[in-house]
Symmetry: C2
């Protein structure tokens, strides 16, 4: 039995499309407190958040494999949170404009309190120079849907117009390092090889 310690629609869709059966359970983790108290590199923070989410659920389901995941957006050492308003989304897009940022995507598998596997993938996204008029039209067209994304973009929508180049696989960009997760599930005997 596989548990996804997240109710993220994107992650559920990814796992379901890949043919996995699982139960999605919310995990109550004070992410803001964990972030505020953390001083290591972003990849360690993303992994710490993924593990905290998994552990918050795994203890109550010791017979299951529990998958935790987290994604951070990092530019020049600054970790961005999801924008909370379209104005904040516009400010973020101005910072991203003409620069590159990383999406740091971590995942882990627990069985009870035993860490079975963990992995972190990084994608680098190159944003073209964005005009003010483009940002305004983009946000007007996409609306509050952008607030669901840490980068204020959906690559599978108008967000494609933001980028000049992408490095890193699509699953990592969407928020789950799916291929390493599938490999870990095969290694754990939870998915037929």
């Amino acid at each position: 039995m596989l548990i996804l310690a997240s109710t993220s629609r994107t992650r559920q869709d990814m796992l379901r499309a890949a043919g996995l059966s699982f139960t999605a359970l919310p995990s109550c983790v004070d992410e803001a407190a964990l972030k505020a108290g953390f001083s290591g590199p972003p990849a360690q923070l993303a992994q710490a958040l993924a593990r905290a989410k998994a552990l918050a659920v795994a203890g109550a389901h010791p017979g299951a494999l529990t998958l935790g995941a987290d994604q951070l957006l990092v530019q020049d050492g600054r970790v961005f949170d999801k924008p909370t308003s379209l104005d904040e989304a516009a400010r973020h897009l101005r910072v991203f404009s003409g620069c590159s940022h990383q999406l740091v995507t971590a995942a882990c598998l627990y069985r009870g309190d035993e860490l079975v596997w963990s992995g972190t993938e990084v994608a680098t996204l190159h944003v073209r120079p964005l005009s003010e008029s483009f940002i305004a039209r983009y946000l007007a067209a996409e609306g509050e849907a952008v607030l669901a994304s840490v980068g204020a973009y959906r690559l599978e929508g108008l967000g494609a117009q933001l980028f000049s180049r992408l490095e890193g696989d699509h699953f990592t960009i969407l928020g789950l390092p799916l291929l390493p997760v599938l490999a870990a599930l095969r290694a754990a005997g939870a998915l037929a090889a």
Copy 2:
């Protein structure tokens, strides 16, 4: 005005999701004959096919920008065509198993018979070792839908289970180098920057 010289559903979906308005027109090109008579590297063949498709449509619409595209799957110098049966798909998957192959994705823009832009992107896909039982279950689950793909996989479905690693962006893998195409459309004044 933008014309897509293709009725490929995937390419239409990609352009539409990215916010483009266009008309999709079929282009009658004898791809088999063009492939059979070609002796250059796969990237040149993909580009030749993209241009032939665009030119077959562009002449009749000299005021429009016409986008042509093609994608080839290449492993160890061998160019694979779409499988025509599930048996052939299984044979292809056995050849892909445990190896890497390239998806060579070409596009071009014509205005009448003038080439405005062309570009080719390559993605490298690493296929994990696939067991016979996996291939059988995979093809039974996916069915004839796999025949629509040159690689017999949809990465956004069960096809994700085939791979250990992907290099190259999702659009290139899906069959259109969307980000370079968008850049070319901006440069041509056909898309607001």
